[in-house]
Structure formats: C-alpha cells, structure tokens
C-alpha cells in the first residue's frame, strides 16, 4: 500500500503559451534576447562565440551594459574584420608568390589600410 502512495502521479499543469505573455509585463528586449540566441542555434547568424566576445567587451571598466543585439553586431563585424584582414594579408602573399601567409603579410596589411592604424600597437616592431 505504501508503494502506491509513493508512486502517485504528479501531473504538471501546462499553461497554454500566450496567455502567460499577456499577463506578465511585456519585456520586448528580453524576448528578442532569447529569440536571437535560439535562432542563432538554428540558422547560424554568427560563428564566433558571443559569450567570449561579451567577456572581451566587459574587460573595459568604462563600458556600460551592452544589448544582445549589439553583441551580435560586434560579433558579426569582428568576423568581417577577420575576412578583410586575411584577404588583405593574402594579397601580399600572392604578390610575393609565396604559398603561406606569413606574419609579415599581415603586418603589411595593417600598414597599408588607414582604418587599421589602431592596430599598430599590436605589432612588435
């Protein structure tokens, strides 16, 4: 008899989806947040891990909060950045008829493009 009581069924009440949304105060940003993250898992918008980029962003003590959309944008533009830098570097590689992109090629790319001037601090020499 005791066993029967232990095995009593516990049914969870399933609330129909959308009434809950209307009862709670709508937080559009929050909904957009979860949706973008979930959506990214299904149809990849960004490749680089957003959480890692979030850490990088937060390293700056002056930086305020950053919206999820903004983080996604930063992630995506960083991907563009890699694309540009790599292609630019490669142009020097093929000019010198080499088959391997060397550090020197990347450095040349940095020198050549005005917008990349901020990277001069990263170079050794």
């Amino acid at each position: 008899m005791d066993q029967m009581e232990e095995n009593e069924i516990e049914l969870e009440t399933v609330v129909l989806d959308d009434t809950a949304d209307e009862i709670l105060p709508p937080s559009t940003e929050k909904i957009a947040t979860t949706n973008i993250e979930e959506a990214n898992k299904v149809e990849k918008i960004v490749r680089f891990p957003v959480t890692r980029i979030k850490h990088l962003v937060k390293m700056d003590p002056d930086v305020n909060l950053c919206s999820q959309e903004a983080l996604f944008l930063i992630t995506k533009t960083t991907e563009f950045f890699v694309e540009c830098l790599s292609k630019e570097a490669y142009s020097y590689t093929s000019q010198s008829k080499k088959k391997t992109v060397q550090k020197r090629d990347v450095e040349q790319a940095i020198d050549a493009v005005d917008a990349l001037a901020f990277l001069e601090g990263v170079l050794d020499s």
């Binding site: 066993q3 029967m4 095995n7 069924i9 049914l11 129909l16 989806d17 959308d18 909904i31 957009a32 949706n35 973008i36 959506a39 299904v42 149809e43 918008i45 680089f48 891990p49 980029i53 850490h55 990088l56 962003v57 390293m59 700056d60 002056d62 930086v63 305020n64 909060l65 950053c66 919206s67 959309e69 903004a70 996604f72 944008l73 930063i74 995506k76 533009t77 960083t78 563009f80 950045f81 890699v82 540009c84 790599s86 292609k87 570097a89 590689t93 088959k99 391997t100 992109v101 060397q102 550090k103 090629d105 990347v106 450095e107 940095i110 917008a115 990349l116 901020f118 990277l119 990263v122």
Partner: protein, 167 residues
C-alpha cells in the same frame, strides 16, 4: 562552461578563428604567427569598437549600448564598409526573432477557442491518470502473484484463497 582564461589572454577561440580563415582563403597555408597576430588584432578591434560605441552611448545619455551605437561607431572608426553588411545582419536578427515569435503564437491561430483547448487538456490528463492507475494496479497484482508463487515454492504456506483479497 567556466573559462579559466586570464583576462590578458582573452581572445576568440583559436579553433573558431582557424575555421574562419580556412573558409576565407581556402587551400592557402597560414603561418601560426600570422594566425596569432590576426587573433590579437581581433581582440583590439573588439575593444576599440566597444569603447567607441560606449562613448556614443554615453553621449546619448543611455545606459545600454545598442545596435545603433555599434553602427555609429563603425562609421566613426572608418569601417563604413562593414556598415551595410552589419545592417543586413541586424535585419536578419530581427527577422528571425520575429519569426520565432510568430511560431510560438501559432497556437492562437488554430481556430479552437481557449476554453475548448483547456477542456481537451483536462480530458487528456484524466485519461492519463486512469491509464497510470490501471498500469499500477497491474503491477501490484503482478507483484502479489510473484510473491505468492515464491511462498508456494518454499512449501511453507499452502495456497490460500484469502490471499487474493487485496484490493
């Protein structure tokens, strides 16, 4: 996933970077030093972008950096080329997010009024309860039968009709 990376060495994961580079310049070899440099450049880029966006954000007296601030920062930093593509991504983000919202509200459009759905749900629960109870009853009788059999095998207790009276 806890990351025990000291802050100064925080970069995009190398694997992700390598994969990306491979797609950009396939069948081209890239020296490790070059990869490392690109990696560090990325970190710098992110810091710069965030910092610039933060300035714009503060100027607008907002507390949270949003997508517009990022786009503005790209312009200011001389990366307008990225802006068009970035805006396209933003549109994608919003479209996909909106699509997911629509998908989750599709339940409303079934044409079945809520009370009816609730009623159906209660019916299903009741049915489930019955089936569960029946299954447990079955189990209980089974256990009893087995217990009885093992007692008989021991030869101690002769089969007694009273034993079948449990409910």
């Amino acid at each position: 996933m806890a990351e025990a990376v000291p802050e100064e060495e925080l970069t995009i994961p190398r694997a992700a970077m390598n994969k990306m580079i491979k797609e950009i310049v396939p069948s081209v070899r890239v020296a490790n030093e070059a990869r490392e440099l690109i990696l560090n450049c990325c970190s710098e880029f992110i810091h710069l972008l965030a910092s610039e966006a933060n300035e714009i954000c503060t100027q607008q007296q907002k507390k949270t950096i949003n997508a517009e601030h990022i786009l503005g920062a790209l312009d200011r930093l001389g990366f307008n080329d990225y802006r068009t593509d970035a805006e396209a991504v933003l549109k994608d983000c919003k479209a996909v997010a909106a699509k997911r919202r629509r998908q989750s509200t599709r339940l409303e459009n079934l044409g079945i009024p809520e009370e009816e759905l609730l009623r159906q749900q209660q019916e299903l629960f009741a049915k489930a309860r019955e089936e569960q109870a029946a299954a447990e009853q079955q189990q209980w009788l089974q256990l009893q039968a087995e217990a009885q059999m093992s007692l008989q095998q021991q030869g101690d207790v002769p089969s007694n009709s009273e034993d079948g009276e449990y409910s």
